[in-house]
Symmetry: C2
Subunit: 329 residues, 2 copies
């Protein structure tokens, strides 16, 4: 984290007693844009309640919704570790004390950016608690570092849309260069999370190091078409473009009933269908909520017939990213 | 050409006696978008004069500016062969007679879409002569077929911008899907054509069939950034994005002084510098004409010092494609 240079001061007059933050789940890759595209949804997402306390340091009070899988140790928990890092870079690690309640409203290992949602919620919360000394752009490197702690690699394809909202492009990964893209208003995601386990690391290892140039050309033609479609509000172009010839054929192997789910979604009128991140969640992108709703319901029904439980979510693209929640709501 | 289905009728009342058409040179790939992107320039370009004659059939009267390299035989010449094909598909091959003068204002084998400019000029001319029964979209497959005749492969990355004007995206190659992209008004190309011979076929054969996925990810991040930059009039983003990590390192080997020319262009303030199509022409993309002018002049000077002759052109992006010229001008 030596690359993060902060020249910000905390104004102690602005510090709040407590904040409550929601940060959204995200669909990385947006089907055709492996490692560069992603978008946020309105649900599911994670929640952080953060309290200022007298004793300096960062502590986790409680974690809900994780089935006991996440560490309460503040140095090992990604959320608290990132918060500590930011406090340290702001020069207030020895003076500020906070306690965190993490409430996970989404499953871990779903391919929906679960760790990113928690990290972004935590960092957005500490920044809000401190009176917002940092911009979202300045928070981004901390979010990426959180992803590195959580997953072993610092990809921004989940944290970028979770923090910025909307559809984000990671133009450059090494020197982080994130571009926020426009979102056509009727773009909906119908997400189904089948209850099967596909760890991100395994899903990545399946992918070959080399690809055929001619396939890469097809892929980047589609990526370019998707970007143009987003700017032009051209749903047909968006649909034609959201095809993944490179990664999906490999990752689909790990997801039971993938091609049958795809058939169902497209038959329901979805613009496109594919894997969310590294899976096993899948996403039907559609114009309007109705198609997304029908597609996810039919997919859930099909999975049930195969004795696979699933969660489903239908949401427009979330354009704001994390948001402050009323504490007493 | 069995895939082309035309359901168009020629209205004999609309046929003109003669037309004169200019079609622009093109910069395929637009540095980072191998096989999918391209743009047209205002100069150089090719010119076709077409005359209706009584005797049915298509004949070449003359070709200027080709140093005798192009065939006058109407079946072997790409321009006349495409015109014949179109007349045949319109059902008027046995009734309409035309004679063609092809005036090449640009060098062959330059990497500037020389054959495409001629093909597009010829097809635009015959369509105009016949009273424009076809739209540009309907002409496109004939242009692609012309490219196949000329180069042995039916890539649309030169004919698409030559015919449509502006910056074009070939989203799909197999089922041709061409998207016209917006062009920021201050985008200029400074082109230098060094007098060295790099046949397209050789330049393609150098390129490896397989690429590293991680390099492809960098490339499609750049492609996506370029598309976003074009829509947002963001010259910095356009410049950051126009980097080719996949093709340039191989093709640059064939172009003497490539990296020195690149250094000069970037030092002059060009947004980006790279190979036009398969080379040997190179292009400095810049904001405004001045930088393009200075960069090309300095590059030409450098090449002269190495005893390499060169042509240079400075042009805004051509947004209209081919145009009718006054016959007596």
């Amino acid at each position: 984290m030596n690359e993060i240079k902060l020249d910000k001061k905390v104004n102690f007059d602005n510090i709040k007693d407590k904040v409550r933050v929601f940060a959204p789940a995200t669909v990385a890759n947006m089907i055709c844009g492996f490692d560069i595209l992603g978008f946020a949804v309105n649900e599911p997402g994670d929640e952080v309640k953060m309290y200022r306390v007298a004793e300096p340091g960062v502590r986790i009070r409680s974690i809900a919704g994780d089935d006991g899988r996440l560490p309460l140790d503040a140095d090992r928990n990604t959320v608290s570790a990132c918060v500590k890092m930011l406090l340290s870079d702001l020069g207030v690690a020895d003076t500020i004390g906070v306690e965190i309640e993490l409430i996970k409203h989404m499953p871990i290992g779903s391919g929906l950016g679960s760790s990113s949602a928690s990290t972004v919620a935590g960092l957005y919360a500490i920044n809000a608690l401190l009176g917002a000394p940092l911009t979202k752009e300045e928070l981004m490197p901390y979010c990426v570092e959180g992803e590195r702690l959580a997953c072993g690699h610092g990809h921004a394809d989940n944290v970028a849309p979770a923090l910025m909202g909307g559809v984000t492009l990671i133009r450059g990964q090494e020197a982080l260069d994130i571009v926020k893209l426009p979102v056509p208003g009727e773009l909906y995601a119908g997400i189904v999370f089948p209850q099967v386990d596909v760890p991100t690391r395994d899903a990545r290892q399946l992918i070959k190091d080399k690809v055929l140039l001619k396939d890469a050309v097809v892929q980047w033609g589609n990526i370019a078409g998707l970007i143009a479609g987003l700017f032009q509000n051209d749903y047909d172009l968006i649909g034609r473009s959201m095809q993944d010839v490179l990664i999906e054929p490999t990752r689909a192997i790990l997801i039971p009933e993938f091609y049958e789910m795809k058939r169902i979604a497209l038959e329901c009128g979805a613009l496109s269908f594919g894997i969310s991140g590294s899976g096993p969640s899948v996403v039907a992108i559609s114009r309007g909520a109705d198609i997304a709703r029908v597609a996810t319901a039919k997919i859930k029904e099909h999975l049930s017939s195969k004795e696979i439980d699933s969660y489903q979510y239908v949401s427009a693209v979330n354009v704001e990213g994390p948001r402050l929640l009323d504490f007493d709501a």
